[in-house]
């Protein structure tokens, strides 16, 4: 098993990990020839948020070597806080490289930083990891959900987070309603107060290979989710997405696709019934 790579776009990597660490501190990084994927799926319970993130490897790595007996794929489990800390240290560097190493029989992701501060000597940070076998990796699969009832483009995620932040102070759950005519509402209700925010004139995504969508006010869906979970998902604004798509699957889940040209993040938030 062999992995080493030099970083090309550290900023994107940091922003991605910053978004993910808001969901869970433990994540899986799956290296393949074309992609680097982050998987946050505790596998313990279906009540947790699941995140599936995939980045074209050549958009963040300048050089990239992955070799293994498992079709040249490697999966590791890492504490994302530790990884983020190491990545942020590298912000002052001219060059950062990653390498899988073993010290005292323990596996590490060794992050090497070349910077002037250390008199030109590399600064090495060993982030502890666990190797995930292909069999264990198979257990982590994206949820198999039916076609969403409604798909709608979200407004600016940072604005949404601002609104959800305020609502979070007043309630524990939030109801998201949307239709296929560009309207979406977020609402909370308690014994003391009810608040509803209405968004209009939103777009709907055009899925490649599928017929053009038809505006339909009567095609609606609503889902209630834990408001804190929704707020965590909205930290994905850190990656400065090009688009974000909300999919409502009635009685099952809220799915948020956060899209950039070179990567995507997909969040699954279970519905509260």
């Amino acid at each position: 098993m062999k992995f080493h790579a030099t970083i090309h776009d550290l900023a994107l990597l940091i922003r991605t990990v910053q978004s993910l660490v808001k969901i869970d501190k433990i994540g899986i990084i799956h290296f393949t020839a074309e992609q680097v994927s982050f998987i946050l799926d505790s596998g313990q319970t279906t009540d947790d948020i699941q995140v599936w993130c995939s980045i074209n490897q050549d958009s963040i790595f300048k050089t990239y070597v992955v070799e293994s007996l498992s079709e040249n794929e490697i999966a590791i489990e890492v504490n994302l806080n530790n990884l983020l800390h190491a990545l942020k240290t590298g912000q002052v560097s001219n060059e950062m490289s990653w390498k899988l190493t073993k010290k005292d029989n323990l596996p590490y992701l060794s992050i090497s930083i070349m910077c002037e501060i250390n008199n030109g000597l590399p600064l090495v940070q060993d982030v502890p990891i666990q190797i995930i076998t292909p069999q264990n990796l198979q257990r982590h699969k994206e949820p198999d959900l039916p076609e969403p009832d409604v798909q709608i483009m979200l407004p600016q995620l940072s604005k949404l987070q601002c609104i959800v932040d305020k609502m979070k102070e007043m309630a524990n759950t939030i109801l998201i309603k949307a239709n296929m005519a560009g309207a979406m509402s977020l609402s909370i209700k308690t014994d003391i107060v009810s608040v509803q925010t209405l968004f209009k004139d939103l777009e709907h995504p055009q899925i490649e290979g599928q017929p053009e969508y038809v505006r339909d006010e009567n095609k609606t869906a609503e889902i209630r989710v834990d408001i804190k979970k929704l707020r965590k998902v909205l930290y994905s604004h850190y990656v400065n997405p090009k688009n974000a798509v909300l999919c409502l699957v009635k009685n099952q889940a809220l799915v948020v696709h956060v899209l950039l040209d070179v990567m995507y993040l997909t969040y699954y938030i279970p519905a509260l019934l």
Partner: protein, 367 residues
Amino acid sequence: MFESEHDLYENDNETNEEYQPILLCKLVEISILNNNLIPLLLTKDQTAKIIISSSGLLFTVMGGNKSIQAQSFIDSSLFQAFTFKPILNNKQKLKENENESENGNGNLNQNLEKEKVYEMENNNTKNTKHILGNLKNNSNNHEENADLIILRVNLSVFLECLNVFETKKGAFVSQISTVVQLVFPSPNGSLEIDLENSGLVASSEINVLACDFQGSMFDLGEELYFDSSTVKNTLVMDSLGLRLLLSELDWDSEKIIIAFVKQPSMLVFQTFSPIGKFQLECPTSSEAVNSFLSHITQKFDYLSRSLSYVAKSLQYSTKVSLRMNELGTLSLQLMIENSTINYSFIEFLILPVTEEEFEENFEIEED
């Protein structure tokens, strides 16, 4: 454009009269409400009493075991639209109740008529500004008394709803203020807040904890009353100056002594804590002090947490007046500059703490 969803017209089957909401007011500068109400958050879950009249909205809160009271009056002239229409068919009931209870409300005249308690000179134009102008000029006018409605709401929730679109730096759509509309449709209704910012609309309904319009407007007994006729010391200064002074105090101290000294004329703050005694003096000749009038030297103790609320609120104001009456009740009136020509005032009333009350409130460690 902001869509008004609250044009409420109900046909009264009995009288065939059309009813409009009791209160409908619109404001294009949400910061006016924030600057005048955020200082009233004395506790995390603050309840406020709101007196609604054609003059405006008077918010009153109590805190610290009723040792501190804060009031903020938002004049109807600050709103772009302000309509107050009390329920017509209750006017008669109101008259009947007042006739029965008139004898028991000797203090009503004093409470309802907010005196012109303080004058501040404008250095440029020498115009005087009157704080907390009259809510009622003549409490014997029963017709006017019918034009008051009192609500109790959770102020913390009210402000959360008001600021759904606001970040710490202001509206998240920069340079565009949120338009706010407040509606109280009927005595059994909720207080509605409608916001609009760049096409985004948010609607909130807050349950009213209580709504009084029949005689209980007389129930002001729980409120603190400041007898301004016995004021012995008055000082006006820049809020920034007082903020700087208060920031130097030892806030670990449980109580703060405030003294108005007649000769040499100065304002003194003292604290006592395990690290020692600390004294801060502000001579009235200081640039930050606009005026000082002292009849006698006075010195009283106050709970430092009560003063801490005032200290936090000074950031919203430009000038502040301090008055102390013969009982030691401290009145601090903060002038809020809503615009170059529009001002409003927040008044804090703080009761002095006695030695017995101090010991009741705080455990004294035995050696």
